[in-house]
Symmetry: C2
Subunit: 328 residues, 2 copies
């Protein structure tokens, strides 16, 4: 049988912390996000306790290639929502290495802009090692922001890889940001993200080539229809000047209304949770496997394989077999 | 104890297949790659049988942002190596969705160019679902190409995300391709890949801004030294005209010589296998977990969580606990 490893002392501390967090205390929020992000002791109990308070925030994923001006657009959209008195949490997933400190620096620069407004909370997350499950951690941080009572949570990712797709897939609404003059691979990028985009933005649309990008999106859309029959609109923006931000907010509201009208909200959520549960299961299984292996063992195994004294495929089967038999 | 599920009939068939593959038969090679890529029956036995024949190929990872001209550069480099009578395998990891057929189409177009030369073998791989372990599959396909006797295996990835970093990290040599005029996020990209680049290429270096990119790389390099004290050289190319390709090959050879001289080859391999073994272990554990869960169960669990009738964190702990106790 499964045994629950509840830390009693932790649970006693938990309620006042959660109360402060839900009352909007930024320090309680920051501490909760750090706990979840770093998998610090008690992170799992914290998420369990926060989960019943979630489900109210709208999660918006914003992704696109480097140089598309995502941060600027996200900041502008946040300001727009603040004018409507809605509170915003921003998670900026940044491929900058933690060693260079880029994420923290970026946070500070961006926070300055909104410093006087506690209604906007920005948190940058650096990419983890290959096994860290960034998509999962991002989703967990979004859960914390949701529980803290934010009306909107925006997840901003740089890049167009699978990682970014995994991250934005967990959002309720996915905005894909393109930009004129992306070069040879523009076809490739667009093909890869056609399926995840609920709304397209052509940012820097005052530049030459904006019409071409629009035509290409339309051409791609004519090739395939979505199973829900939604045709992602294309919004043109110049984020640095605030142009088109209102129209983007309107497109987001329109898609939300569509989901409501077609009763797709729950279906959408179930689909997201299918993905997310498997992701969580994968991480939990790996944690378990890692718990049975010391770093020394991993290094020794790696040396045996590197020296061709052992084949890695049989080795992994043996490790899994041992874990399963409970005799590590 | 672990029990080996060897398919005897498969093993009988395996040897002639492997013999043909090692003799350079392109159909045997293509079938082996498909078996591994699709995890078709026998993939694991095949890799076990091929592993002793690996370790001879040099694995070169080539990555960079969309529009950097990677395919063109990889093709040019392949032609260069063919002039030296070295055989080449290319794995193009393509974020194009499998639904659009972009990967297959790209393969055909590129293969036409090399059609008359069996010394170049190109295989495109599309990204998988979130749990497919693209880095692992790519590494396995590289293993097949290595066993087939290719002198060089080039892994080409589009993008700058964690996924791409995981993929190129498994290479012996990593080439990062930049291009002038990448826009606002150029700092971000470069920070993220500084640690993985053994060689930098500035492609399309006849464009304005090439010197600026070079200065920026130099500035970044001055901030941090690598633990092995190698300073990644910067090679300028115009791949579409073949300019700088010879110099890139020379830089690659120089780095290889450095690794040999400093006795870093084995150390490098051990480090790579540490990452790769954990990646393999993660996938194997997930397969095991998935084997105990039907699609129906996953959907039901997802619905319970989406409707907030259950918290996902406790749920996953329970599933893992049940798997561990052997009573699913």
């Amino acid at each position: 049988m499964y045994t629950c490893f509840t830390l009693d002392s932790l649970n006693h501390d938990l309620q006042p912390w959660i109360d402060r967090l839900r009352a909007g205390d930024p320090r309680a929020l920051a501490r909760a996000i750090s706990t979840v992000e770093n998998r610090a002791p008690g992170w799992s109990e914290l998420l369990k306790a926060l989960f019943p308070h979630t489900g109210k925030a709208r999660i918006i994923g914003m992704t696109g290639p480097p140089g598309a001006g995502k941060s600027t657009l996200v900041d502008q959209l946040a300001k727009h929502y603040r004018k409507e008195n809605r509170t915003v949490g921003i998670i900026a997933v940044d491929p900058t290495s933690p060693y260079t400190g880029g994420a923290i620096l970026g946070d500070r620069i961006r926070m300055q802009d909104h410093f006087s407004d506690p209604g906007i909370y920005i948190r940058s997350m650096a990419t983890r090692g290959s096994l860290g499950g960034l998509a999962r951690t991002t989703a967990d941080v979004a859960t914390v922001l949701d529980a803290s009572g934010r009306d909107l949570v925006m997840i901003e990712t740089v890049g167009v890889g699978q990682d970014e797709i995994d991250i934005v897939r967990l959002a309720d609404i996915t905005v894909v940001i393109l930009v004129p003059g992306m070069g040879d691979d523009v076809q490739t990028i667009k093909a890869g993200i056609m399926e995840i985009a609920d709304i397209f933005v052509i940012n820097k649309s005052d530049r030459e080539g904006a019409e071409r990008v629009e035509r290409e999106i339309r051409a791609m859309q004519s090739l395939a229809t979505r199973s829900d029959h939604w045709t992602p609109p294309i919004v043109k923006t110049v984020a640095s000047e605030g142009t088109g931000v209102k129209e983007l907010a309107a497109a987001i509201a329109q898609y939300e209304a569509f989901l409501q009208k077609e009763n797709l909200v729950l279906e959408h959520n179930i689909h997201n949770w299918q993905e997310r549960l498997l992701e969580m299961l994968r991480d939990a299984m790996l944690d378990k496997a890692r718990g049975h292996l010391t770093d020394g063992q991993v290094t020794r195994y790696a040396a045996e394989v590197a020296e061709h004294r052992r084949d890695p495929y049989t080795l992994v089967e043996e490790i899994v077999g041992k874990l399963e038999s409970g005799k590590p």
